[in-house]
């Protein structure tokens, strides 16, 4: 718990100091002293009551919805107060990165309650939330107590998806997609991948497992048969990568709307997202956290010929040259 004077409190302190000086400069007067007592008592009680207003309040962050960079995030909190006495004027702040943001304000809290708040738009990235800060200056608004609650949560600001303009052949997205959209998959073996809990034993590729000394399973085209296959080569400039991620994000969301799969391949990353596969939120998180690699870094894994290769500039140039 920390305390600091508010702006009103700072002005009040100057006022109190001026009155104190006047009191000491003039002969003792009972009425003067009484008024001074009143101000002093108000100051003390303001600190004490603000502390009590915040003391028994418990709070937890229920979740923050991923949002495109620069857009507001929806935040859900749950606050709970012990005892029957209501609490007033509690501000909820989230602290992460270099910033501290007020996400919700409760004028009145009785028992427990869920609060929906808004977090201002953030830059692209995965921001680890350091702590939830509860603040209150009730009742007199001259001293503000704050209470910090450590959190392990993150705010995902994924790249803003490039606008999808269906039917506009000149749009960047249309140029990138071209005719590379795969119309579903079949039961042909598309490749192998390490065994994961839940995989059927019938799909274990025993020979390959013997060669690799670890269990690997066959991956059918049905599983990896995404509507889109993306291959992002991160050996590019930050601007190029941003554009690539925006395109990828647009495709990811489009795939999500169409309830189809999307295969995302990049250096050190290969995953299928969509129904029955990894959730879209995980893809958004990867897109939010993706960073460019130096030119000497290894290339991305080999992708099918039909895969959409990003960054877009390289692909757009290829398209432009026929």
């Amino acid at each position: 718990m920390r305390v600091r004077p508010t702006f009103l409190g700072a002005k009040g302190a100057c006022f109190l100091a001026a009155i104190e000086v006047a009191f000491l400069a003039t002969p003792y007067s009972n009425l003067f002293f009484l008024l001074l007592c009143f101000l002093g008592v108000l100051t003390l009680l303001a600190g004490l009551w603000s502390f009590c207003n915040l003391r028994a309040v418990a709070a937890q962050l229920l979740g923050t919805a991923p949002a495109p960079a620069g857009n507001e995030h929806d935040v859900r909190l749950e606050l709970c107060v012990r005892g029957r006495r209501p609490r007033f004027q509690i501000d909820c702040w989230l602290e992460f990165g270099h910033g501290r943001y007020r996400v919700a304000a409760l004028p009145l809290l009785r028992g427990s309650g869920k609060v929906a708040g808004r977090l201002p738009g953030q830059s692209r990235g995965v921001h680890a939330v350091r702590q939830l800060v509860l603040r209150s200056r009730y009742p007199f608004g001259i001293l503000e107590w704050s209470r910090r609650i450590a959190l392990t949560a993150e705010v995902v600001a994924y790249p803003p998806p490039l606008p999808v303009l269906d039917g506009d052949p000149n749009s960047t997205l249309a140029a990138v997609i071209g005719d590379r959209q795969v119309a579903g998959g079949d039961d042909m073996v598309a490749g192998i991948r390490p065994f994961q809990p839940g995989d059927s034993l019938r799909m274990v590729h025993w020979k390959a497992s013997a060669r690799r000394t670890q269990l690997v399973v066959r991956e059918l085209d049905r599983d990896s048969g995404a509507a889109f296959e993306l291959c992002i080569d991160r050996r590019c400039s930050a601007e190029d990568l941003d554009l690539a991620l925006q395109i990828a994000c647009a495709l990811l969301l489009r795939a999500g709307e169409a309830k189809t799969h999307l295969t995302l391949t990049s250096q050190g990353h290969a995953a299928v997202y969509g129904p029955g596969q990894q959730p879209t939120a995980a893809a958004l998180r990867w897109l939010a956290a993706a960073a460019p690699l130096p030119a000497e870094a290894s290339p991305p894994p080999i992708c099918p010929r039909a895969a959409i290769r990003l960054p877009v500039r390289r692909r757009a140039a290829e398209v432009a040259h026929g």
Binding site: L8, N30, L31, L39, L45, F88, F140
Partner: protein, 654 residues
């Protein structure tokens, strides 16, 4: 700013205007427009969106500010207070009419307190204190609402109601804490201040060893009890009104003082001497002594035993023989204690018998002593006083005796000069102004003037100070004398008759009239409030010490009281236990399944969160590591029982 705060701000501004009005420094006609503008503020504020209105309003405010400033600068300090208070009030009205999105109410809060603070210097009366109580009761909810409603948030009416409900106990606690801090905080009550304005400190009305006429400034009237006098029968008329503690003989134009120590011998005696009959008894030549008056002297500052002029016998009732009395030549009696440490807070008890002077042993004063009682240097007197003496002398019939002259001068003063407490607006600045009737005077002015007038006409007299005993406590059949009853009057020496009391102060008659006033509920309430207020304004170090002693001794006294009444204590304790048990039963009046669930949760070390269902509680208990299996099993059982009762017949979960 939310509209909910506006009524509170309006109330604060109206109270500020009332504060200003209470000072009587500003004419009501000047305040009336401000009252009107404040009350109309909720409607006027809607016009703020019109540019023309804003221009006209702000220009008007600037013009009025300019006029007030010019008035203050041209008329000097005399109207500085009036203009300053008007400026502050106008500022509040202006802020009230502009508070909203562009103007926050912070400044209004500070300004309102400043007005209350400044006006406290000029209207230290009950009206101010009651207004301040109302102000505090409005200020705290306003601050709380402002804290909740800041940032222009739209708040539900339920929230505002909850804030107001919450503010009531907080206001009471704040006021109680203020009173406590005021009562117990150690401080120097005589502190002169850095600016050295000791001359303008409040005068404490009370008994003093000298009578100075050059003191000015407002006076505080303390209700602290000085003594209580119990007559033999419950009749107030048996108690003389004037109880003297000291007399003053020498006058230098500014102050009346006692005779020099060297002259205080038996040869200079001006009164019948007190003779010691026993260590505790004193007697003067007198006849027909009346039944004794029992006196308890509580205020021990004066070191005097206050006695009426007609006192014939004095008996010290101090149980421990701690008070030793000694008589002066003017008939007054002093006292001191041997064991002050032990008996410091105990009142001095003595009995007085009123008696007639013994005609066989008339008062004989030496010519030298009588000469001192007539001594007055006209060069040290104000010319106006000498002129008044000539004027009164011309009014006397030829050959009038001393008693006639004294009564004539007394009645003339009582009828032609009026009473005013020092420091009030009507009070005369000095003795000359009082004699010229430029202002009213207090008892010392009346006594000093009358004594000077009599001496200028060759009549032997002196000024006496003490207390006026007029307040009758009908419940205890006693006369109560307080510090505010301190008084000064004149004693005239009549040849062959001795001393008589001659009081020219009209307030003395008023005090008698006030003491016999009706005892209506309204009067009692006003009296109580007035006493409370005087207790605040006249609070001093001794009162604080007494209060602290009382507070420290209170628990012990309460215990002693309980042990002194064992039957009542036992009955009260049983009653209290019964109430607590009944309350507990009512609280525990919950279905058995609910109680069992609560007990199981308590045994498991869990506390149900508000709104948490038993099933959720059970899930939490299951997730918690280290919970002993028997307790978990008990909780499972209790949950199942509760659910069966709750959803089986629908009675358990109320």
């Amino acid at each position: 700013m939310v509209e909910a705060l506006r009524p509170f701000l309006l109330g604060l501004v109206l109270l500020n205007l009332l504060f200003v009005q209470l000072t009587d420094s500003v004419q009501t006609t000047l305040l009336l427009p401000l009252y009107g503008l404040s009350i109309a503020a909720p409607w006027l504020v809607r016009l703020q969106r019109h540019l023309l209105y804003r221009v006209v309003w702000n220009l008007s405010v600037v013009v009025i500010f300019g006029l007030l400033l010019r008035h203050a600068l041209t008329t000097g300090l005399l109207h500085m207070l009036e203009d300053g208070l008007l400026l502050a009030a106008l500022c509040q009205v202006h802020l009230l009419n502009n508070v909203g999105t562009r103007q926050k109410p912070d400044l209004m809060f500070f300004n309102s307190f400043l007005i209350a603070f400044i006006t406290s210097f000029f209207s230290q009366d009950l009206g101010w204190s009651l207004t301040f109580l109302a102000y505090a009761a409005l200020l705290l909810p306003a601050l709380q609402l402002y804290t909740v409603l800041r940032d222009d948030r739209v708040t539900a009416p339920g929230t505002i109601r909850a804030v107001l409900r919450d503010s009531a106990p907080r206001t009471l606690v704040a006021l109680a804490a203020t009173a406590l801090a005021f009562a117990v905080w150690p401080r120097d009550f005589q502190r002169p201040g850095w600016l050295g304005l000791a001359g303008s400190t409040m005068l404490q009305v009370g008994f003093g060893d000298e009578l100075r006429l050059d003191r000015s400034g407002p006076a505080t009237l303390s209700v602290r009890e000085v003594m209580r006098i119990r007559p033999p029968q419950p009749d107030r008329m048996l108690v003389p009104t004037h109880w003297r503690g000291a007399t003053f003989v020498n006058f230098d134009g500014v102050a009346w003082t006692t005779i020099a120590d060297g002259a205080n011998t038996d040869g200079n005696a001006t009164d019948l001497p007190w003779q010691r009959i026993s260590p505790l008894q004193w007697h003067r030549p007198s006849v027909h002594p009346a039944e004794p008056l029992e006196v308890r002297l509580h205020d021990l500052d004066g070191q005097r035993l206050f006695l009426p002029l007609e006192a014939g016998e004095l008996q010290n009732d101090d149980e421990h023989d701690a008070a030793l009395a000694y008589a002066f030549t003017d008939g007054t009696v002093g006292w001191e204690r041997q064991f002050e440490r032990n008996y410091q807070s105990q009142p001095v008890r003595y009995r007085v018998r009123i008696a007639a002077a013994d005609p066989r042993r008339p008062l004989r004063t030496s010519p030298f002593a009588e000469q001192r009682l007539r001594l007055l240097d006209p060069a040290e007197l104000p010319e106006a006083l000498i002129a008044l003496a000539h004027q009164l002398r011309d009014l006397q019939p030829p050959g009038a005796d001393a008693a006639t002259v004294a009564e004539s001068c007394r009645s003339w003063l009582a009828q032609n000069r009026h009473y005013a407490l020092p420091g009030t607006a009507d009070a005369a600045a000095n003795l000359t102004a009082f004699v010229l009737n430029s202002g009213g005077g207090h008892c010392e002015y009346f006594a000093a003037t009358l004594a000077a007038l009599l001496r200028l006409q060759g009549i032997a007299c002196r000024v006496a100070t003490g207390y006026l005993a007029t307040e009758w406590d009908a419940d205890k059949h006693e006369v109560v004398v307080r510090r505010r009853d301190a008084h000064a009057w004149v004693e005239v020496l009549l040849p062959g008759r001795g001393w008589i009391t001659c009081d020219a102060t009209p307030a003395a008659d008023l005090a008698v009239a006030r003491a016999s006033a009706t005892d209506s509920v309204w009067d009692k309430t006003l009296s109580l409030l007035s006493q409370w207020w005087h207790a605040v304004s006249a609070f001093d170090g001794k009162t604080r010490d007494a209060l602290l002693i009382w507070l420290i001794a209170a628990p012990g006294d309460a215990l002693a009281l309980l042990f002194a009444h064992p039957l009542e204590t036992t009955a009260g304790g049983l009653l209290l236990c019964g109430v607590l048990l009944l309350r507990r039963r009512l609280r525990r009046h919950a279905p058995a399944a609910v109680l069992a669930l609560r007990a199981a949760a308590r045994a498991a070390g869990l506390r149900p969160a508000p709104g948490e269902t038993p099933r959720e509680l059970l899930a939490r208990a299951t997730a918690a590591a280290g919970l002993p299996p028997p307790r978990l099993a008990a909780l499972v059982q209790a949950t199942a029982t509760h659910e069966a009762a709750r959803y089986g017949d629908g009675t358990a979960g109320r």
